[in-house]
């Protein structure tokens, strides 16, 4: 059976060119970048190059780029690092209810440590109302964290507006841009952010590598302690191959951004067209126009997530929904609960499809037809 991967928002296949560069570095660049001999310098040189590429892509200075083990670590460092360091200025943090758990659970940890956290709801389109955020700001607020693109619905959040709003406030502004990188222009100055998270494995790079942008002058405590690496913000011998792989993936993503946006949009359109042709009833969760190209989140009335996902998988189609609980069963998505409330049936019958490098038009067509058939059977 042909397997079709429609879960690129979860993770992506690596670009072969990335694998080549990484393989090469694994063979040839085993020096420790901190060493002061030729082996170390060679590795350090490769890191510097990626740091420069990254800085250039997001409009930052090289010194503002911190490599981490991934998006989760970067988000934890951003939230917990700044909160702990700046608690003399206040104890209030603002975020949203639709953040990734790497932000939400870090915020909950801060609550346990004496901070007060405001979790803002989003509207039915999945968007945060900036006025709501404005109303929540106090003199005690030291950090605002709002994601750039929601990973379940693909909806863009008004980051630059928020940036403008709190530009003159003492609070730092962090955005988790993990799901935005690769298909969106990210410029830290235009967004007016102090901290920004991205991750390598969402853009066809290796797993285990993320970046936290830390604007010059931003005060934060490191979460781990050791050597001098990453300006002591993130000590530990660097993941050289991972960083090199990320660098290559980022280069390719930037180069192909426009083409990919158009391609994924055409996938999305074809996908919906086939569902329409099969007379499948569905709702799109989230704003129709303010959504990133590769993600679509659909509610299929009269079905349930577990049955849909299992049936899809048995037909070779990989998609996802909400978050699995530790015991495997699918928990209602906190994102959809924030949008529609906990009683709405959308929270138990919605699936996220996300397109990417592993897809072509014929696959999307095949998958949409199979999905239509399954939904029809389950709603009979």
């Amino acid at each position: 059976m042909k397997q079709i991967y429609l879960d690129h928002a979860a993770t992506t296949p690596m670009d072969p060119a990335v694998i080549d560069e990484m393989t090469d570095s694994l063979k040839n660049l085993y020096g420790n970048p901190s060493s002061i001999h030729s082996f170390g310098r060679k590795a350090r040189q490769a890191l510097d190059k990626v740091r420069r590429t990254t800085a250039k892509v997001i409009g930052a200075d090289e010194k503002e780029v911190t490599f981490t083990s991934g998006g989760t670590e970067a988000n934890n460092l951003a939230l917990i690092g700044t909160a702990f360091r700046n608690k003399s200025k206040g104890n209030h943090i603002i975020t949203t209810k639709i953040e990734h758990h790497a932000v939400l659970h870090a915020a909950e940890y801060l609550e346990k440590n004496g901070f007060r956290v405001t979790y803002l709801d989003v509207d039915k389109d999945g968007m945060l109302d900036v006025e709501k955020l404005k109303a929540s700001l106090t003199q005690e607020t030291i950090l605002v964290s709002v994601m750039m693109v929601n990973n379940e619905t693909g909806v863009f959040q008004p980051i630059s507006e928020i940036g403008q709003l709190i530009k003159d406030h003492q609070a730092y502004f962090h955005t988790d841009a993990v799901q935005a990188l690769g298909l969106t222009n990210i410029h830290v100055d235009n967004l007016s952010v102090d901290l920004l998270t991205v991750s390598s494995h969402k853009i066809n790079g290796p797993k285990g590598l993320g970046v936290l942008y830390v604007k010059k002058g931003t005060k934060l405590d490191s979460r781990q302690h050791g050597g001098e690496q990453e300006r002591k913000r993130r000590p530990g011998t660097e993941n050289v191959a991972g960083i090199i792989g990320f660098g290559k993936a980022l280069e390719i993503a930037e180069e192909k951004k426009q083409v990919r946006k158009e391609t994924y949009l055409s996938f999305k359109e074809l996908f919906l067209k086939i569902l329409d042709k099969n007379e499948i009833s569905y709702y799109i969760n989230g704003s129709k126009n303010n959504t990133i190209e590769h993600i679509i989140n659909l509610s299929f009335p009269g079905t349930n997530v577990e049955s849909l996902l299992t049936n899809f998988d048995l037909e070779g189609i990989a998609a996802s929904s909400g978050s699995a609980c530790s015991a495997g069963s699918v928990e209602p998505s906190h994102v959809l609960v924030s949008m529609y409330g906990s009683e709405n049936s959308r929270i138990i019958n919605s699936i996220r499809f996300s397109f990417g490098l592993a897809n072509d038009l014929s696959q999307v067509e095949l998958a949409a037809n199979k999905i239509a058939k399954i939904v029809k059977r389950l709603t009979k």
Binding site: C325, S326, S329
Partner: protein, 370 residues
């Protein structure tokens, strides 16, 4: 007939050794096997962990060893509505319910079976110790070969139609052999302890658990003649024939629970394991399920179990007009308990069963048993 690799069998996997071996045997026989874990109870703690976490992790490890796909399904709502609500209602009435019988009837062989069929399954399989036998066009349920493990008692509410879609691959094996197979294949669950007690209570204290859901009303503990012997903590904590936890000291034989009066909130106790008040010679059962054909109106002889793991007793079943049955015992039986199941057998064949409602002695209802 379909080839085995085209026959899809969904195995209900709990993370225990029995369901692990069930999946293993079916896989070895060449079926298209899928493992599914049922999450029926939510006891998630602050850290987001629940008892099911470890069990599901075991399911994942075993399925990966067997190279079969695995999924989970959440029946918390159905379980709460159909099993737990019944469980509490029975305790409120002073009876001793059997949630496992209800779970098999409503969850494992209804909600789960439906879920599996919607996944294109031809059969569901579980690690129950019971056997399905096809006779002509109908399906009979036979006891598991391992006398000590036979679980047909809990399966008495299944229908012949359900059985036609069910496989019990362990039914012909002794438990020892199941462990041995697990060990030989180095299954991740080979040495896992068998679960005991009621699934949603797990290893916790039964009293503590129940008190979270039902208000405990302490009251008097008396003999049938009204002599006060002490205090009870709440009628729901006691079952007929129970000896432990009464706290009555003094000389002579130990004391046993012989009955309850729910209206007056009194627990009846008497002295001696074989006290006459603990014995009955008949019962009336309702919620009858006959796996194959319903008996006609004539009384018939068979054997019966009144509790799990009890030896069979000879009985005569008298069908009543209202669909219930009166069951008379060949020999007086001790501590027959309202709310428990009575399950009927003809030799190795399980005929079906019902819920014990009324206890009889000399043709009269024993009103003190509650």
């Amino acid at each position: 007939m379909k080839n085995k690799e085209d026959i899809r069998v969904v195995v209900g996997m709990s993370g225990g050794v029995d369901s692990s071996v069930t999946a293993l045997l079916l896989k070895e026989q060449g079926y298209d096997v899928i493992g599914i874990f049922m999450k029926n109870w939510d006891d998630t703690d602050e850290s987001g962990m629940c008892t099911a976490t470890e069990d599901f992790d075991d399911v994942v490890r075993v399925c990966n060893q067997l190279d079969i796909p695995y999924y989970a399904v959440n029946f918390e709502k159905q379980y709460w509505d159909k099993v737990f609500t019944y469980f509490l209602d029975e305790y409120k009435k002073g009876r001793t319910p059997n949630p496992d019988v209800m779970c098999n009837k409503e969850i494992k062989f209804k909600a789960f079976l439906d879920h599996a069929l919607a996944l294109g399954a031809d059969y569901v399989a579980t690690g129950h110790y019971a056997q399905v036998e096809k006779v002509g066009d109908s399906y009979r349920m036979l006891r598991g070969v391992d006398e000590n493990k036979d679980q047909t008692y809990f399966l008495n509410q299944l229908s012949d139609e359900v059985l036609s879609k069910v496989m019990f691959p362990l039914g012909h094996l002794p438990k020892k052999e199941v462990r041995k197979i697990a060990t030989e294949h180095d299954l991740a669950t080979a040495n896992k302890k068998d679960s005991t007690g009621i699934c949603f209570i797990g290893e916790r204290n039964f009293k503590d658990f129940l008190s979270e859901y039902l208000p405990a009303q302490p009251g008097n503990m008396t003999t049938l003649n009204g002599e006060i012997k002490g205090k009870h903590d709440g009628l729901m904590y006691y079952t007929l024939g129970q000896r432990q936890g009464l706290g009555i000291g003094g000389a002579g034989e130990p004391w046993f629970v012989v009955g309850k009066n729910v209206e007056e909130n009194v627990l009846y106790v008497e002295q001696g394991y074989h006290h006459d008040a603990l014995y009955a010679d008949g019962l009336i059962a309702s919620q009858l399920n006959w796996i194959n054909e319903e008996p006609d109106n004539k009384p018939f002889s068979c054997t019966a179990k009144f509790r799990y793991r009890q030896k069979d007793s000879g009985v005569t079943v008298h069908p009543l007009e209202d669909g219930r049955v009166k069951v008379t015992f060949d020999q007086p039986e001790r501590a027959i308990t309202p709310g428990q199941a009575v399950v009927f057998y003809q030799d190795e064949v399980c005929l079906g069963g019902g819920t014990i409602d009324i206890i009889l002695k000399d043709e009269k209802q024993l009103d003190y048993v509650g």
